[in-house]
Amino acid sequence: MSTTVATGPAEVAGHTTDPDAPLLEVTDLRVEFRMRHGTVVANDSVSYALEAGETLAILGESGSGKSVSAQAIMGIIDSPPGFIAGGSVRYRGVELLTMPEKQRRTIRANHIAMIFQDALTALNPVFSVGFQIAEMYRVHQGVSKKEATEKAIELLDRVKIPAARERIDHYPHEFSGGMRQRVMIAMALALNPAVLIADEPTTALDVTVQAQVMQLLKELQQDTGMGLILITHDLGVVAEVADRVSVMYAGRIVETGSIQDIYERPRHPYTLGLMESLPSMDSRGTRLEPIPGSPPDLQNRPTGCAFHPRCRMARPRCATDDPPLLTIEGAGRSSACHYHEEVHLERG
């Protein structure tokens, strides 16, 4: 099995790639869910880019729309009610959103793969895990059943499932949570994708198992040079693995930056508020500093800056003027706050 994908093929699903384009680029993506009682804009002007070997974290709370752009990349948004109302998703320069479904399938299998939070529901309960992994090879590479099974065993070995040869005939329910997540990672990596999207991959796992799985993902990334998009709400997990971070709030990216930038010099009051609401190792006996209120309902998005009702820095302008995401301090660093220069003064 080849273990490097950093330099991919010059052709993707029949389209010529652009060698200068980022591995994956999402530009001004807008996703709407059109429901009977109104339209919810789940993603609004969402843009980010991913390079090979890099880990981009998309950090957000429930309902922030952090998973929606990933679903748009994969082409798995339920439609209706979901519609991609604008923007583009390019893989090596090739536009995915206008691609026919048949070509999309090739991309999904061979180039971009995704793993989900709940491995038990993502795996088919009536087939053995070996069958499900081998299926990837049989369908996409047309290899024989025997060869596919051998490859599946090799893969289970690679994600460190003990006694892979015996366990290949087991069914998903016979695996523990951590082992199931490994099976899912194995399936996602079967065809050496260049991009792996991990949507809350360790949220359902215990701390000690979570550490194992994150370690595994890191090692696999180093081996293959794949780009990783990590979608999570967990500031701890982000701090451990991400190179860059995009923080989402109410369907938009409110801040982007390198991992050090985001944690050491947040430039959006929401990011700062998240950091400060975490209990730290020496916060005992002191009061925590929560963000007041709760995340907005996207159907009743506040006017102006969506964060202003909860923001301690808010001024009259914030309730009327919607702050755009603007580049600050150079490339890759942006904030959607009118007063981003003052955020660090708030830091207690």
């Binding site: 198992v209 979570q210 701090a239 451990e240 005992r284 925590l288 709760s294 995340p295």
Partner: protein, 350 residues
Amino acid sequence: MSAVEIERTGHDFRESPDEPVLRVEGLVKHFPIRQGVVIKRQVGAVQAVDGVSFDLKQGETLGLVGESGCGKSTVARTLMRLQEPTAGKAFYKGRDIFDLGKGDLRRIRREIQMIFQDPYASLNPRMTVGDIVGEPWEIHPDVLPKAERRHRVGELLELVGLNPNHLNRYPHQFSGGQRQRVGVARALALNPSVIICDEPVSALDVSVQAQVVNLLEDIQDEFGLSYIFIAHDLSVVRHISDRVAVMYLGKIVEIGDADEIYNAPTHPYTQALLSAAPKPDPSARDDVNRIILEGDVPNPADPPSGCNFRTRCWKADDLCAREEPLLETHGVGGHPSACHYAELRSTDVA
């Protein structure tokens, strides 16, 4: 916090102040595994809780941490007698909770209340928030005369930071954090002295978690409540707890003051657990001293011989397979630890 005054009834704290509010001794809960169609035979038992003992002092918070399946929620449920224990004793102010008749049990239950993890599942969607918070008085009518109840519901809602005029609303009209506040108000309705919080903030968003943690600390100060705080999030437990008990596969493996457990853990499992927890600090990344355990928690229906943790422990040897280590104080750490080889980590000593 509002100045609402809640009249405390039926409490007698004139007993000696050092006497624990709750003393649990040798709590065991085994769930039988049965086989057979007509004649069901017991073929084994899931040893969910296997000999757990601890004290809870007045006004104190005891954190109970451990991974899923370690038995921490089963401890909570048996203390509430939502499940009958297999063996053991639990004394609430000197009376054994497990040895009470229906009437006495009912009287003691109002002293020990519970807050649940899922604020969506633990509130009846067809009842108004006012009815939910007031329901405990239907079962314990002598706590508060009927005429005062509606007023008290408003006071309780205000106390937990909700608008008292919202008592006719339904749970779905509230956010997750607000719902958890309703759960707190309901737990306070009977003026308990102990509240068992079973993962009270795990289902909440990070920005809202801190609000509920602050609320729990405020009402504890106001009413002198004792908490058993069950959670898997180590930093939240550290923040709120005075003492911490670490559980693994049905047993407490280490117990002590929060500072001791977090700064000077002597049990390898505690050390691994603390080391594995992701820290929200990018500069702590690639810590060479990080312990990443191998494998999974063993099946509680078939626990290993000797020490439960030996199958994943890097220190394990023949002794660990032969002899179960007792939870006792060793020369190091100054607090009980159930390991034959209890010692500080070399990195913690430095």
